[in-house]
């Protein structure tokens, strides 16, 4: 058994080092990390935006400057019902009505987006995106670029829910205090609430990142060279899979350990405003 393994190991080493298999592995590692990191960054951006939209006040309201302009504009129209119809009063009124409800409309769109991306497997999204949607839109992208985009969109749906929980976990008094000194809703969100929310959700966000790194193992199906694909090719060329897959697993574990340590450091850095050390 042991001699059997050492034989396999030698075979792998020959293929990995002497025949240059490591080059593919390095490229694959780079792509894996790239897709995961870019995916998470895109996901965070989308997630924050969706989360902020979904916690926005629900009642119809426009920024005061736009509303005032509308009021003044609509005031100039004649008061008689028939004349109003002829003068397109109701047309402009309808535009105002829709603009006032933009937050509500955006919320509906966002919940549709989340339902779509959480409701289908990421594999289906990748195949659908890379082989059907992107080509049909006339976009020429590499498999890696498409993967970044798809994983970004996918994790955006998950991060948005995590983020929403994070925003809700911040005491409502923080937003009130920021509004009371004169910050607008968006400024108070950006400066006060979201930073605290991100701090609260950092462990969960790390979870998402680790899951993302492992999920990227499917990008080989779109023809992108990632870690799994690279090791699979080494295996195929020797008909010997044991050692390549063990090494592959070890590399993934090492990646996750590194991320875990990085997250710990980041958490400690962000916790400097807490009493905990």
């Amino acid at each position: 058994m042991l001699t059997d393994f050492s034989l396999k190991w030698d075979k792998f080493i020959v293929n990995f080092i002497d025949k240059g298999g490591y080059k593919q592995v390095v490229d694959g590692l780079e792509n894996t990390i790239l897709v995961a990191v870019v995916g998470l960054v895109i996901g965070m951006l989308i997630g924050v935006v969706i989360a902020v939209i979904s916690v926005m006040p629900k009642y119809p309201i426009l920024p005061y400057a736009i509303q005032n302009r509308f009021d003044r504009f609509l005031d100039r129209f004649p008061k008689k019902p028939l004349l109003r119809v002829v003068s397109f009063y109701y047309f402009f009124y309808a535009i105002m009505w829709i603009l006032q409800r933009i937050p509500f409309i955006l919320q509906k769109i966002c919940s549709l987006y989340v339902a779509l991306f959480r409701g289908t497997p990421v594999m289906v999204q990748l195949l659908m995106g890379y082989f059907v949607l992107l080509p049909s839109m006339g976009l020429k992208v590499t498999a890696v670029q498409a993967s970044m985009l798809i994983f970004g969109l996918n994790s955006g749906a998950y991060v948005s829910e995590i983020m929403r929980g994070g925003i809700n976990s911040v005491d409502a008094g923080q937003l009130e205090a920021a509004r009371a000194v004169g910050f607008s809703y968006s400024a108070s969100m950006i400066k006060i609430v979201v930073p605290q929310a991100i701090k609260n959700i950092l462990p969960t966000l790390g979870n998402e990142f680790i899951a993302l790194i492992k999920e990227t193992s499917i990008i080989g199906y779109a023809g992108a060279l990632d870690l799994v694909y690279a090791f699979k090719q080494i295996g195929t060329s020797t008909y010997e899979y044991t050692v390549p897959y063990i090494v592959l697993s070890v590399i993934y574990i090492a990646l996750v350990v590194v991320i875990t340590i990085g997250l710990k450091i980041m958490e400690r850095w962000l916790a400097k405003s807490d009493r905990r050390r």
Binding site: I61, Y64, A65, Q67, N68, D71, D171, G173, Q174, E176, A177, A178, R179, A180, V181, G182, F183, S184, A187, K191, I192, P195, Q196, K199, K272, S273, D274, R275
Partner: protein
């Protein structure tokens, strides 16, 4: 300074304020007292539209800020507010808590100010930052917390937090200060330090509206006391008259319980 006209506020079916009309004049120290659930906090929160009034108007500097089409943020800069739960920004140091609003809101106006030839204040972001920091340190000195400038709020005691909150509200140079039960969440021995800051503030001529259960403070500092009960002003008077000769039966029973 603030005219409140027939102010109503309902939460769903529950009507909390049932028509309040009063005027807060410049330099006045109005103390609002009343049993819990009477709507005194809601009344205060309506003054800077933290709660949007259901109907009625609040005229501040000639503009009805209860109107939803008015830029409320501009007016809130001029109405300082201090909360029962302090609500310091947890992710900022004490100094940043105080200077955040003047700096960030000042930055926005910088472009417009530069065109004004009579304007002599800070002209660049750097100057503005230095100016705001100096101002913030001055305010922290005023509330006796200058040495805590680089500490985070979580390391402060309740009384210290509330003093920082007062400094933060003062940093915008407000014309009126609203206090929402500023000492109710404090240990008894910390109440004094916060009240001292408030007394000093009152002596400097600031217009103040204070919701409180501190009857001693009302008597000593207040120039007018409002008794709010069941959503209306049941009685208002100077503190001497208010505590010595309560007119309504409701106030008599209330005072007999709290004094």
């Amino acid at each position: 300074m603030i005219d409140v006209v027939d102010l109503h506020k309902s939460f769903g079916d529950h009507e909390v304020l049932k028509g309040i009309t009063t005027t807060i004049h410049e330099g006045e120290k109005v103390v609002v007292i009343g049993p819990s659930g009477s709507g005194k906090s809601t009344f205060l929160r309506c003054l800077n539209c933290m709660e949007d009034p259901t109907s009625g108007s609040i005229i501040f500097e000639g503009e009805d800020i209860a109107n939803i089409h008015v830029d409320i943020n501009r007016h809130r800069e001029k109405i300082g507010m201090v909360f029962q739960q302090f609500n310091l920004f947890n992710n900022k140091t004490v100094l940043d808590n105080v200077m955040l609003a003047p700096y960030c809101l000042g930055k926005k106006k910088l472009g417009k100010m530069k065109k004004d030839p009579s304007y002599t204040g800070p002209k660049t972001k750097k100057e503005l930052n230095a100016h705001c920091e100096e101002e913030a340190r001055r305010l922290l000195r005023r509330v006796g917390l200058e040495e805590k400038a680089s500490a985070y709020p979580s390391t402060l005691s309740g009384g210290q937090k509330q003093r920082v909150a007062i400094a933060r509200a003062l940093a915008m140079n407000p014309k009126v200060m609203l206090f929402d039960e500023p000492t109710s969440a404090l240990d008894p021995e910390m109440v004094g330090e916060v009240l001292d800051v408030m007394k000093e503030l009152a002596a400097s001529g600031m217009t103040m509206v204070v919701v409180t259960h501190e009857m001693g403070f009302a008597r000593e500092v207040g120039t007018r006391v409002l008794f709010i009960d069941e959503g209306v002003i049941a009685e208002e008077n100077t503190p001497q008259e208010f505590f010595a000769n309560p007119q309504t039966e409701r106030l008599k029973t209330f005072l007999s319980k709290v004094l």
